[in-house]
């Protein structure tokens, strides 16, 4: 399962639309979540609409938070995206096998079994999260909070049973042709996670769209052709199990 988490505090102003880039990511099975970071008491000053549309196009969720809430928000989003994706997959399976809309419609004993299976999948499925950090001038004072949130996320991923990794990019690059810079390639360790954003020099643009596009390419280069590979599959759920339907005994 692949996710991009975009952390930004402003509007994109150059290159292709970030909404379009996010929908391309989703088309490759990469879910895009977006966090807008604002200074205390300045919630109105951010492009809430853009943030929402990027997340919607990327199949993910968006939140606007103050820096002290970043760590919790990053955790929550990543985890809910995993759980949500597994649920969607399982519900789809339930629909086709048992003709029910979701796990909530199953009788309690069956529900217990399916939920156990969903938890198992959430814990063990392979998970990659690429963080894309807006490092423009106005974000500078917030980068310490961003680094802490990344460290904390890496710690949680490292604690999972399944294979997990994070990568970190910031944008823009120094050169107009480089929309974003890789700060940390895929890793599953937090121990070596020192200061991430040291000597950031960049031009004054915010190429959110091209940066997203570049991260999608990175997924493709490092993870092969990710589209179509089912990393989580269900153990067989049979239609004819006697305890599935409440009044299933016809004979």
């Amino acid at each position: 399962m692949n996710q991009i988490l975009l952390i930004t505090d402003g509007h994109s102003n150059v290159g292709e639309s970030p909404v379009l880039a996010a929908s391309r990511a989703l088309a490759q099975d990469i879910i895009v979540n977006v966090i807008g970071v604002v200074d205390e008491g300045e919630a109105g000053r951010i492009g809430a609409e853009e943030i929402e549309s990027i997340a919607r196009a990327g199949g993910g969720m968006s939140r606007i938070v103050e820096p002290h809430m970043l760590t919790q928000t990053v955790q929550m989003m990543t985890q809910q995206t995993v759980v949500g994706t597994i649920r969607m997959t399982v519900n789809k399976e339930l629909r086709s096998l048992l003709g029910v809309e979701s796990v909530a419609e199953l009788p309690p004993p069956k529900r217990a079994e399916v939920v156990r299976m969903m938890e198992e999948l959430s814990e063990t499925t392979r998970l990659r999260v690429a963080l894309l950090i807006d490092a423009s001038a106005s974000m500078r004072p917030k980068l310490a909070a961003v680094e802490e949130a990344i460290r904390d996320l890496a710690l949680s991923l490292q604690s999972r049973q399944g294979e997990s990794a994070v990568a970190v990019f910031h944008f823009p690059g120094e050169d107009p042709h480089v929309p974003c810079v890789l700060d940390l390639p895929w890793t599953d360790r937090v121990d070596g996670l020192g200061k991430l954003f040291r000597n950031i020099r960049m031009q004054g643009t915010t190429p959110t769209g091209p940066a997203l596009q570049r991260v999608v390419e990175y997924f493709r280069e490092t993870c092969g052709n990710i589209k179509g590979k089912t990393e989580y599959s269900l153990p067989p759920l049979r239609r004819d199990e006697p305890d599935v339907m409440e009044s299933g005994d016809v004979g």
Binding site: I31, G60, M61, V103, P107, R111, A112, R116, M118, E123
Partner: protein
């Protein structure tokens, strides 16, 4: 996944006196009064055929089922204890199915209220009971995860009940739900893979929070993330009149150095003898006070009697 996340639990239209009927098992419950609200549901005192029980109602069937699964698997381990999980079902409410489960109702109060009422000395007993609960859980293969003051109910005699199993995690998996200041990852003291030591750490923070909450909160607000470390917590312990007595236990808990939760429990009972100056088991501070007052009154009465 533009998934609709479940609406907040406060959106459940519940009122005292309301009757809920289970869709699958058919039991009828009468809601008496709310006991609390967690991250994913509400807990109510209810009655079924006149007998009290606690109902947890949520909006998300899978979430609630996860908790029910933990409770059910704990019961399987021990048939001698009275059943904690009584029922799990859905109720039709305002045009939708609301999942719920029924638990045995155990009266008690959250830890901080307990300490406020019975004094720091009463922590000796409650702390021992808390560790006994953890022994049961750990030996059944689970870690509680989200151990904190609000999730621990203490009866006046010091008996402890754990509530809200939303964070309960199989040993070896990543902890499902936690609260920052109780989390050893937050204090840079380890990862979030569920092992018994994860709960020992939270238990240590819990008693610091219960006895020295103000300084703990001030510390977490002022400390930059890179300086978070168990030694900061130990600094609070060493300079607190009551926690000081628990210094050795606290250090071992924060550093995960017990051999087992049974050992943690045994060591607690040894250390806690020095806590709060001899309030005996089960007699809360205020009651000890009342005894003193009563004796004084009796002495005065006796004096008056003899003076006649």
């Amino acid at each position: 996944m533009s998934d609709k996340r479940p609406a907040g639990p406060d959106r459940l239209p519940l009122k005292p006196g309301m009757l809920l009927k289970g869709k699958w098992n058919g039991n009828v419950y009468r809601l008496e009064r709310p006991l609390g609200a967690g991250s994913n549901g509400q807990v109510w005192l209810a009655s079924r055929g006149g007998a009290p029980c606690a109902l947890k109602l949520g909006l998300d069937a899978a979430d609630l089922q996860g908790e029910t699964n933990v409770l059910a698997s704990l019961e399987r381990g021990d048939r001698n204890r009275p059943s904690f999980l009584l029922d799990a079902d859905d109720a039709r409410l305002g045009g939708r199915d609301v999942p719920f489960y029924a638990m045995r109702y155990v009266p008690g109060m959250p830890v901080r209220k307990f300490v406020g009422r019975y004094g720091p000395g009463a922590v000796a007993t409650a702390g021992g009971h808390l560790l006994d609960r953890l022994v049961e859980l750990h030996e059944a293969g689970w870690v509680f995860g989200d151990l904190k003051c609000d999730n621990v109910l203490v009866a006046p005699g010091g008996q402890v009940t754990l509530v809200d199993y939303g964070g309960a995690t199989r040993i070896g998996r990543s902890v499902r739900q936690f609260t920052e200041i109780y989390d050893r990852g937050y204090w840079r003291a380890g990862n979030r893979t569920a092992d018994p030591a994860y709960d020992w750490f939270s238990a240590a923070v819990l008693w610091i929070h219960a006895l020295d909450g103000e300084r703990l909160m001030r510390l977490t607000r002022s400390l930059p993330p890179q300086h978070r470390h168990p030694r900061e917590l130990m600094r609070l312990v060493r300079t607190h009149p009551h926690l000081k007595a628990m210094e050795i236990w606290m250090r071992m808990a924060l550093e995960g150095r017990f051999g087992s939760t049974r050992e943690a429990s045994r060591r607690w009972k040894e250390c806690a003898a020095g806590l709060g100056g001899g309030v005996p088991d089960g007699i809360p501070a205020w009651m000890a006070g009342m005894v003193a007052v009563t004796l004084a009154l009796a002495a005065v009465a006796a004096a008056l009697w003899f003076a006649r």
